[in-house]
């Protein structure tokens, strides 16, 4: 398994053997197909993070994330949501299918 990117709380790995991605969420390691990884990206981007700073809209600042066709459920706080967003953003650039973050070649 190759490490793609590690943010503060999360690490994404790619496994060439089973052609899957793995995210280490700290308390558990979750396996993703490419499609599921894309879906994770869409879900985390759809979070309205501004609501986390408005106690009327998101009282406790938590986000429920249901992943991999309802196989996994995560409860993330504001910091974790922001960190996961960043991890996803960098990872997709490193995977070569996004230039949201311009990467200098090493």
């Amino acid at each position: 398994m190759t490490k793609v990117y590690a943010s503060k709380f999360y690490t994404l790995y790619q496994s060439d053997q089973d052609r899957r991605y793995y995210i280490d969420f700290g308390q558990k390691m979750v396996k993703f197909s490419f499609c599921q990884l894309l879906a994770l990206r869409q879900k985390i981007y759809a979070v309205s993070i501004e609501d986390h700073f408005d106690s009327d809209l998101n009282k406790h600042g938590f986000e429920i994330l249901i992943l991999c066709n309802k196989e996994h459920l995560f409860l993330l706080n504001t910091f974790e949501v922001l960190d996961l967003m960043e991890m996803v953003k960098y990872s997709f650039s490193l995977l070569g299918i996004s230039s949201e973050i311009p990467l200098t070649s090493s």
Binding site: Q14, D16, R19, F34, L38, Q42, Y45, L95, I97
Partner: protein, 170 residues
């Protein structure tokens, strides 16, 4: 490390996001044309109603074209939600003017995706959008021609009847 992401998907994620937004826009256009058809029905503009039913179907086809393109490229197409459909118009001319404005917004949006696709060197999306650019040119022209009829024939009751009779469904 194998390039699994690229093997699975042949467009860039940023263009995929914009194409998903475009799906929403086409679907909104379709629903909006239905609202216009409804207004024309209520006001006895029979030809115009037919015309807008046809437009609504076309917009849905545009939506499906993009939906399938994303899927064919290995991306995730998102089924759109539609809200904020306006049903209120003060007259027939306003209906067509709103339609033209809507088409112009779609054209702008297509151009925006095109410029991102170019920047990202996403040639597949760039090529896919060519059809839409041509389509938008035709759509804008259709509505502009209809709006010219109001200049030409006037806006009183009988003129409006004549205009409605001249509205052809392609």
């Amino acid at each position: 490390m194998k390039d699994i992401a690229r093997q699975r998907m042949s467009i860039k994620v940023s263009t995929m996001d914009l194409l998903n937004d475009q799906i929403k826009m086409e679907s909104h256009a379709s629903a909006s044309y239905l609202a216009m058809a409804s207004w024309c029905e209520q006001n006895a503009f029979v030809q115009s109603a037919e015309f807008f039913y046809h437009q609504a179907t076309e917009e849905r086809e545009h939506m499906m074209k993009i939906f399938k393109f994303i899927a064919d490229c290995g991306g995730n197409s998102l089924s759109p939600t539609v809200d904020n459909i306006n049903h209120d118009f003060s007259n027939l001319e306003e209906v067509f003017e709103t339609a033209l404005d809507q088409e112009i917004e779609v054209t702008k949006s297509i151009y925006k995706i095109l410029s991102v696709a170019k920047k990202e060197q996403d040639y597949l999306t760039e090529n896919f959008l060519q059809w839409f650019i041509k389509e938008q040119l035709e759509e804008e022209k259709t509505f502009r021609d209809i709006l010219d009829l109001f200049e030409l024939m006037g806006r009183d009751g009988i003129a409006l009847k004549f205009i409605d009779e001249r509205i052809k469904t392609a």
